[in-house]
Symmetry: D2
Subunit: 259 residues, 4 copies
């Protein structure tokens, strides 16, 4: 029942400079509002819609930048891994290792991350019922690891659309593990642009308020200072300039719900 | 941007005594919390799952009781009509005439209610996209009637399940008409009990908080003092004893969102 | 296990001349292929998307034309009713009375048709699981009427889309009643054109072949000689010129499946 | 427009003996019916619901057995890979390399298989629209590989359920690549048993007939001689004893459709 944490940052590491800029700007806001902040940024986008999409700097350069953010700015960092090979390097740097939604059923990936006793954030697959996360949890717990976060990011609703079933947050909380609401991937329109995913960023604040009103441990947001120029997921990121106002509202709703 | 209104009451008129009891009990709570209250009760459940289901006292006896509630307790009343024949009688008594979700596309029903210039609350069909309510609105507006409420009550999500797409509230608000969130029918499991619909009343408070956090003009709740004995929709009604606590939370969230 | 029957015709009675033209043209083809044929045409489209949509000639003129088709061309006729008031007139003329999908749960409508011991064809609501048709059947059987047809016409699949779940045909057949596959409404894109429903007529033959391969008693098709000029449902009707080829294929598949 | 091919076999390699038994029994039937046959069996089930589920013999032992089947029985073999590391070994043995549905968007996996110019069978993710397979194809074609099969295995339809949208077969055929219908995974009830996926094997013949009637290049079936004892996917496999009858029907429908 602690106040919610922000997990946020740009979708992908565009450059060291941009990554630092975003981490600093977001942390200014979260410091001011007294909201715990974990910086999120991907070093590799391994399942982009198109083979030509920008993927990021790769694991070595990406982890170097994230480590620098962590050390110099004193902000915990989270990023996602896609293969077992990436795990040993990733756990050296990351405070939380994230498992992408499409990979949430890959037993070896889950088990091998779990072995390191790092915190694991598993995104619920778009194809999964919330109660089926119990089996995902079982794979991680099988290694004695109980540091688990569960993230809702929308469920398949017809073609090229996701719906945020707010009941899912309640069902996943019943596992006893903290639940995260991903307010930006939830507004994706998967494949909606033909060769890329579209998005409905106008719904981000609404869905985040709804999720916080249900009660979550964390809100996950992809944030960019210039969404139209973002190298990934531009159509569904939150514009940095709208972050402060949103977080203020979320904080007030959170305190109503948790008192 | 006014504070939300409660539209609430038992699913069906079980008896004059029970109807008055419920109207009084609910209005005690809403008076105390200073929440505007409209009493809802059906005189006929015309589309129950089974032919053997309880349907209510019928239109004449039902409207007699609702008129008495309205006059003696000074509470505005809303109820639903299912045929054009019921309309002239209904508009004599009701402050708001409700169109059931399954009937939201029946042109003659909509047009004939609209002619009376009464307030019309249309429940969005479980099969309808929120933007398609624009055509429903057009049917009512064609009669010069602009007193329209639009209600979200969940959308078909696979078999025997509904999901509350919170984006729908935002889309429907863009029509300019007040949006109502029906927090109890939204947790129905249609047909889920074989010969009747099941329900997940445990989700009612969560979904209502979410909807109010998105921003709605009204919350619609079916409420019963003894859900297990309710003659209709027992599995998805709110227990009267939980109403006050829920309304208090909703009021606080509402004030955060609308300030 | 009899060969399949064609229920077909234009969506709506556009004129007496056009109705006769269509009935004659279709029956020429079905006679040649030795396929039993029931002529379908609506006298009133009571739930069009828009208030301005063409609705048809109304019940009196419509039934007059259908009676003439029946008598002069010696073809059985089916049409749909929307209110209890229409029933006594309709049963005078129609061989089969059809209940529209949106109205498939309206108890009074079902019960009052059932009383006449006419054949009732109920379209499964887009919001209904196939096993839930058992309750619909129960309403008709409550009047001692066991002349029931059950029609699949697609189930809500996200927004503005329907999917034909072929399992539904099997589930409904287990009730013991004949199952009809509606191959043209199943390709509707409800509300997909803003003020009207779109359609994907290119899928009609594919879905009909699939349904017949599963095994059905009847295929239901809306057919028009000039789809782009059709006064209703143009985007999802079958072009008359493609009917013969389709029926030939269906007949061959039907005979494989039923032998 | 060639007659359809059977891709079939047990879900997982249970033992060398059982694998040979199944390959022989199936090929007896396909030889008799003159249906081309590719033997399918997995060496590792990498995304089972539960961490305790049986996974198979692993890649080295698994490929050894598959190679032996291929050489001794002269039957082409297909199996699935889950990581880039498995690819070089797999392409040494397999005639077709299969990409599991959950992994169908993993760029590196697709690209690295494609490099070997082997035939790639990609299962469409349960979360993907059929037209979005174009981007998947693009990843494979980027390596100059045009030996691609596309498999439909059902799309997410609410929780714990999949629906086979027969339109998907038509949409995917428009890419120009052969389309496979997976008639056994399509009847899975994902997660439906709590710690495992349920299944509705009674629908397998119906859905296969439907898919063949739409027109496919291949039918994919998991087959077991003793489904209740199968080490994987028992609830949704086809019983070996029903294979011959089904294939005979499919062959007749296929010839109707392709003539």
């Amino acid at each position: 029942n602690n106040p919610f944490i922000l997990i946020g940052g740009p979708c992908v590491i565009e450059s060291e400079e941009h990554t630092f800029y975003m981490a600093r700007e977001i942390s200014k806001i979260t410091n001011e509002l007294n909201i715990p902040f974990i910086f999120k940024c991907s070093f590799d986008k391994a399942n982009r819609s198109s083979v030509d999409s920008f993927r990021g700097p790769g694991i070595d350069e990406g982890l170097r930048i994230l480590k620098k953010v962590k050390t110099e700015l004193n902000i915990p960092v989270i990023s996602d891994v896609h293969t077992e090979e990436q795990i040993p390097k990733a756990v050296e740097v990351l405070d939380i290792v994230q498992v992408p939604a499409f990979l949430c059923r890959q037993t070896d990936l889950l088990v091998n991350i779990a072995k390191y006793n790092v915190v694991v954030n598993v995104k619920k697959g778009q194809f999964l019922a919330p109660w089926d996360m119990q089996s995902v949890i079982g794979k991680i717990e099988s290694q004695g690891n109980h540091n688990i976060l569960l993230t809702e990011r929308g469920v398949t609703f017809g073609y090229n659309n996701l719906v945020s079933d707010m009941r899912s947050l309640v069902v996943m909380k019943e596992t006893g593990y903290p639940v995260v609401y991903d307010g930006t991937h939830s507004v994706q329109l998967p494949g909606g642009l033909g060769c890329a995913s579209g998005g409905q960023s106008e719904f981000i604040p609404h869905l985040c308020r709804a999720a916080v009103a249900v009660g979550v441990s964390s809100v996950f947001l992809e944030i960019h200072n210039n969404p139209t120029e973002a190298k990934c997921d531009g159509p569904n990121v939150l514009n940095l300039k709208n972050l402060k106002e949103l977080l203020k509202q979320l904080k007030m709703i959170d305190s109503v719900v948790k008192n």
